[in-house]
Symmetry: C2
Subunit: 478 residues, 2 copies
């Protein structure tokens, strides 16, 4: 009991210090460890198993949609990075440079890829010749490096893991459809699998990806009201194709530039899972990606038959669920706290009395509700309870987002809301960069997105009072 108390007390409550609460969880749930390399993480087995489940779902979905995995080099020669002007301006200040190989100075510096548009274009220029070669639908899973000054586990790190899809199409329409399709894949994954409600929309020019014509995003709200950009999909037009001289012979024999997209989701989403669902007892994991969906805890495990029963249940369930038994010597209380910390969606308790009655107890991570389940209905009831857990998680997150979303009609109202109420602010915007910059300066908020689902919360720009073009979500962001 002492051990359990100690462990539970060791988490800083989120109301007291949200940043510390976050750091406590990533460490105590054993998701990651700091390394000796500034800003680079060690992703520990539990965190990596979570990432593998995320990867598996997305990878399967990408392949169903016709995408193929490839591997591009880790390095980008400086001259290649410089080929597209906006792109190099956006990324050059934050890359790591390799200048020596063995003991020799390199003739040309190589940067460690911060993203791979340039490498994909360089390759596409060699393999795309005819409209018959299109579309090219490539993806890669890798890590990328951005030389960030201030880092936080999963949210902002020098090295992070992601997938980057890069596609080339015959027409602008096809490329735009791909951009939208992949944004929808991300949104569906967040909402269905991760139980994270997201707002889909377009980034303003100020916030878009360096070199893109348009960037689309899904934005999620964290416990503290801040936004997390959770996945992005970019439409490039033929800008990179022109810069890299990627051409194809069209159906009418004319020479054309193909139209391009890229899209990515990263280990950042793990930060999003923590900050959307976690509580003061630790992590709460969405069943679809939880490394352990059901932990079997034998009660009074020294009593005859209890452990055997626990193993029997595990063996019976393991074809259908990710399940483990904890037969360790620690007290039940310690174990309860431990698996709450790790966010396991369901705890299954089985003891001598349950065995007599041919039942077990399921306890939901989300609300600690105990459900007595006859053993002969176990599979169906676990599936049902996992669905309930997911639904509870989603509903809570959506309710929170709705209760923490405000509207503002004037700059002053915007500033007051931003100062006093954490959350999103809906406000009309004229479309001018100057107003966007002023809102940042005065109210400390950035534009999160111009949502696809527009809503008229006024007629004029919240900042300048001129006629508004669109409604924008504003907020503080990770």
């Amino acid at each position: 009991m002492a051990e359990q108390k100690k462990m539970v007390e060791a988490i800083t409550p989120m109301e007291e210090d949200f940043a510390q609460w976050y750091t406590d969880i990533v460490k105590k749930a054993e998701l990651m460890d700091y390394s000796s390399v500034r800003g680079c993480m060690v992703i520990e087995p539990y965190g990596f198993a979570l990432w593998e489940n995320i990867q598996h779902f997305l990878d399967t979905r990408f392949k169903e949609l016709g995408h193929e995995n490839v591997a591009m080099p880790l390095f980008i020669p400086e001259s290649l990075l410089q080929r597209e002007k906006d792109h190099v301006e956006g990324f050059a200040p934050e890359v790591a440079w390799v200048t020596m190989g063995g003991s020799e100075q390199l003739e040309e510096r190589l940067c460690v890829r911060p993203t791979s548009e340039t490498l994909f274009c360089d390759h596409y220029a060699k393999v795309i010749h005819s409209w018959r070669d299109l579309p090219k639908l490539y993806n890669q899973w890798c890590s990328v490096v951005r030389w960030e000054k201030t880092t936080r586990p999963f949210l902002r790190s020098v090295e992070f893991y992601w997938q980057e899809g890069h596609t080339m199409h015959e027409t602008a329409e096809e490329a735009k459809a791909e951009t939208e399709r992949m944004l929808n894949v991300y949104a569906g994954f967040c909402e269905q699998q991760l139980a994270i409600p997201v707002i889909k929309g377009r980034k303003t020019d100020k916030e878009k990806f360096a070199g893109a014509e348009a960037t689309y995003t899904i934005e999620a709200m964290m416990h503290d009201g801040k936004a997390l950009q959770s996945g992005t999909s970019h439409y490039f037009g033929d800008g990179f194709a022109r810069a890299f001289n990627v051409t194809f012979q069209g159906r009418d024999n004319s020479i054309n530039y193909p139209h391009q997209t890229s899209w990515g989701m990263s280990t950042r989403i793990i930060g999003g899972i923590i900050m959307t669902h976690g509580d003061n007892n630790g992590l709460v994991l969405p069943p679809a990606v939880a490394p352990v969906q059901v932990v079997v805890l034998p009660v009074a495990q020294h009593k005859p038959g209890v452990l055997d029963k626990a193993y029997e249940l595990r063996d019976r369930l393991k074809g259908s669920f990710r399940v483990k038994v904890d037969d360790g010597e620690q007290s039940p209380g310690w174990k309860f706290a431990q698996y709450e910390m790790k966010g396991v969606p369901l705890r299954l308790e089985i003891g001598p009395k349950d065995m007599e009655k041919g039942q077990c107890v399921l306890v939901r991570r989300t609300d600690r509700e105990k459900i007595f389940v006859p053993l002969d209905q176990l599979e169906a009831r676990i599936a049902e309870q996992l669905d309930i857990v997911r639904q509870q998680m989603y509903d809570r997150a959506l309710e929170r987002r709705e209760s923490m979303t405000y509207a503002a009609g004037t700059l002053e109202e915007m500033k007051r809301t931003a100062d006093e109420k954490p959350g999103f602010i809906k406000a009309m915007w004229c479309g001018e960069l100057a107003c966007e910059e002023k809102l940042k300066e005065v109210a400390g908020v950035s534009s999160r997105c111009i949502p696809f689902e527009q809503e008229k919360v006024g007629d004029v720009c919240v900042c300048c009072g001129r006629p508004a073009k669109s409604m924008v979500y504003w907020g503080k962001a990770y």
Copy 2:
């Protein structure tokens, strides 16, 4: 037909120029492309699908044996690399150095990991405290960088892909058992799944991994008689643990250093598959890892019902096999050549006459044998034919290795054999480095391994004539 001929003629026969034959295959089978980054590959979809199948098999096996995946940083600070003396001496001359982040000079250089023992030890020092924390059985899938001067696709490249397992154990015995277990996983995978016969053995001190107490290897013979080291497993004792101050409290409360292993298999094995099984028509892929196991080619596909039948067969088979239909406009001859080039194990031909008879034709990549198969027996017959293909591949490779393995009793005999006959040479060795170096100098061969299956081919060292300690396989190697 012109197109087919052109394609077939475009491969240089291996008898004419083996290196060119190899390069032709990697390019024409679309496994990889050269990049703008010296020594770094673009692995194309077909090559990457092959690697994913290799990964899937090994990863499943590792997990069955209790290993967990993690992710370590891409970079190693110079001071960390230097912690273990032999290790830094072995690797420092061939690493890429990051010296700048953005526009700032780094205070300490970071190397791009050439291998990750130092990073794992640095982490293990933080998470291992008690014997209860052992064993730690970690693995990671990643790319590593070694600044090689001369590179060849898959065989030797600046960046390559691999997995590296790193484990820590309570006792030397346990660590040694792990080293052996993982070597056996690699050997089993090569022989069973890849149809590549291998020789298991220990590396001499000269050839072992920098910092290891012992390195175990599996060695395969390529078409040209050269050896390919195809997987290695290292036993470190507690050398790294001492250098990194990794300690644990033992069962008797004493403070101890854990015993360590590491083991790896890389994209090099793709080179091994090509050079073991390929022929002058292209790649020949082992069914277990082939991205496409059966290609369905409709014959006279303009005739009514043929294409529909082809799709129907694909849909019927896709739950059991990796299958695709080629319904393209190219001639059958072009398609035959194309899928031979890509090494697809079985071709399934279906045309109007077959449909009338309720049959189809299976053609094996290995010997072009045609098998007429009633459609109602299709699944069983495909499984049977894939087994036959695997067995043919293995038998041929083993027969070749046996016919190209010689014994030598004297230095002169060794030199003559090495000069005249490509292949392996079995010869006795006294165990002295001087003799090993002299054999390299005089006969141009290196020790491949001291095989576990010893055979007495003489009493005295082939070089110095003193009493021999063991029989060694010698040869030229990739």
